[in-house]
């Protein structure tokens, strides 16, 4: 991967870390629902899962990701692949994410 491509992927991850889950005060990266980011020219391909198959906020999360990533320079298209394998579990949360939810009153 070229250094330029690497920097752009980092920018995508930083942008994703600005998006909060609509129901809880935790961002998508700390929640561990983004499984992968790949850049192909001006398209970002994202592998995304949800904490539950019946996630009531799935439409909102997808809309938030599109809106935020399309605001990044050099990105014209966001392709989101929703995957269920491997299934999400709370072990995928980062230490910061765990702390944010604990502070909010959820035991994780």
């Amino acid at each position: 991967m070229s250094p330029e491509r690497g920097r752009q992927e980092e920018r995508v991850w930083s942008a994703l870390a600005e998006i909060n889950d609509p129901e809880m005060p935790i961002n998508l990266v700390d929640l561990g629902v983004v499984y992968g980011v790949a850049l192909e020219q001006r398209t970002v391909r994202l592998r995304l899962t949800f904490t539950a198959m019946g996630c009531p906020a799935s439409d909102m999360i997808i809309a938030d990701i599109r809106e935020r990533l399309l605001a990044e320079p050099g990105i014209d298209e966001v392709a989101i692949d929703v995957v269920w394998d491997p299934p999400w579990s709370s072990s995928r949360m980062t230490a910061d994410g765990r702390e944010a939810l604990r502070a909010w009153g959820l035991s994780v």
């Binding site: 609509p22 129901e23 005060p25 009531p56 909102m60 809309a63």
Partner: protein
């Protein structure tokens, strides 16, 4: 002795201290707190059947899941209020399942049926915004500690409902044509009903025990202004008209307040102003679907009671 105790209690409230248990309360405070909790619990509870009847018209499985999740939240919020009431000596069972429909204390708006997905999302954008203003005020100001703390998660969830309302309202408006016209019609009847939700104007309500006891912090008109200051700019921004506008730092209604409402036709007659006495009479008589909404959660209760 009685009066010095009550003066000491009022001093506590004025100093901004939190009340934590019944043993600290005066009988008057306890009565006002219970009344405020009943209105809050009833409002959350009735929104579940009201939203459910409309959520069935969801345009996709994902949208239906969101609608059902909102209903689950509302039931949980109701549970917080009734649970506290139980700790204050009331029976949850009696409050929820044994009261006459007309004895419920939720806003009149919920007695007018929501009959489409469009009407549901407008309710999320306007009714839940009203709930957000009222509960946000209680969360910030309430002198009763257990309730104040219980509202932290409620506020986050109400925000989710509001987003659903706003996202969908925007999407329907952008679709244009008949969809946008339906949205405008929903706003036309629901907007004045929500304005009314905040109750009598301050100039007619000389005294509020809820404010004296810091059960809430803002007056009816202050809360109404707060609501208008979010709903009017939002609706205008998505190309939907509302009968109110901004003048300097506050919002002014473009119709006589209060006015006459035909609940069956879901139509306001702004050429027919009425008095607050008429409005209070309409509220007391309840709206067209009061009994049906309450029956949705009461009807099966007696079937499953173990005979003593």
């Amino acid at each position: 002795m009685e009066s010095s105790n009550s003066a000491a209690f009022e001093g506590l409230i004025k100093r901004g201290e939190l009340i934590e248990s019944v043993s600290e309360m005066t009988p008057d405070y306890l009565r006002e707190l219970k009344h405020t909790l009943i209105v809050s619990g009833d409002t959350e509870l009735i929104s579940a059947p009201a939203y459910y009847l409309a959520a069935r018209k969801a345009p996709s499985v994902n949208a239906f899941m969101t609608g059902i999740a909102i209903i689950q939240d509302e039931l949980a919020h109701a549970h917080i209020a009734y649970h506290i009431l139980e700790e204050l000596g009331e029976s949850q069972e009696a409050l929820i399942f044994k009261r006459d429909p007309k004895a419920f204390r939720y806003p009149y708006a919920f007695d007018v049926p929501l009959e489409s997905w469009t009407e549901l999302v407008v309710a999320n954008a306007m009714y839940d915004q009203a709930g957000f203003c009222l509960l946000g005020d209680i969360h910030e100001q309430c002198s009763y500690g257990p309730w104040k703390r219980g509202l932290v998660k409620v506020m986050a969830e109400e925000n989710f409902h509001l987003r659903n309302g706003r996202n969908w309202s925007k999407r329907i408006s952008q679709a244009g044509g008949a969809a946008k016209e339906e949205l405008q019609r929903a706003v036309d009847w629901m907007f004045p009903l929500t304005v009314e939700w905040f109750g009598l104007p301050d100039n007619l309500k000389q005294h509020s025990a809820q404010l004296d006891y810091r059960l809430k912090g803002l007056t009816n008109d202050q809360l109404r202004q707060q609501w208008l200051s979010t709903v009017v700019p939002f609706m205008t921004s998505i190309g939907i008209q509302v009968p109110a506008h901004q003048e300097n730092s506050h919002y002014v209604l473009d119709y006589p307040f209060p006015s006459t409402f035909d609940a069956e036709a879901k139509r306001w007659d702004f050429n027919d102003p009425c008095s607050w006495i008429d409005v209070l009479a309409r509220w007391r008589a309840r709206g067209p679907r009061n009994a049906e909404m309450v029956a949705l959660f009461q009807e099966s209760f007696s079937k499953f009671q173990v005979q003593q």
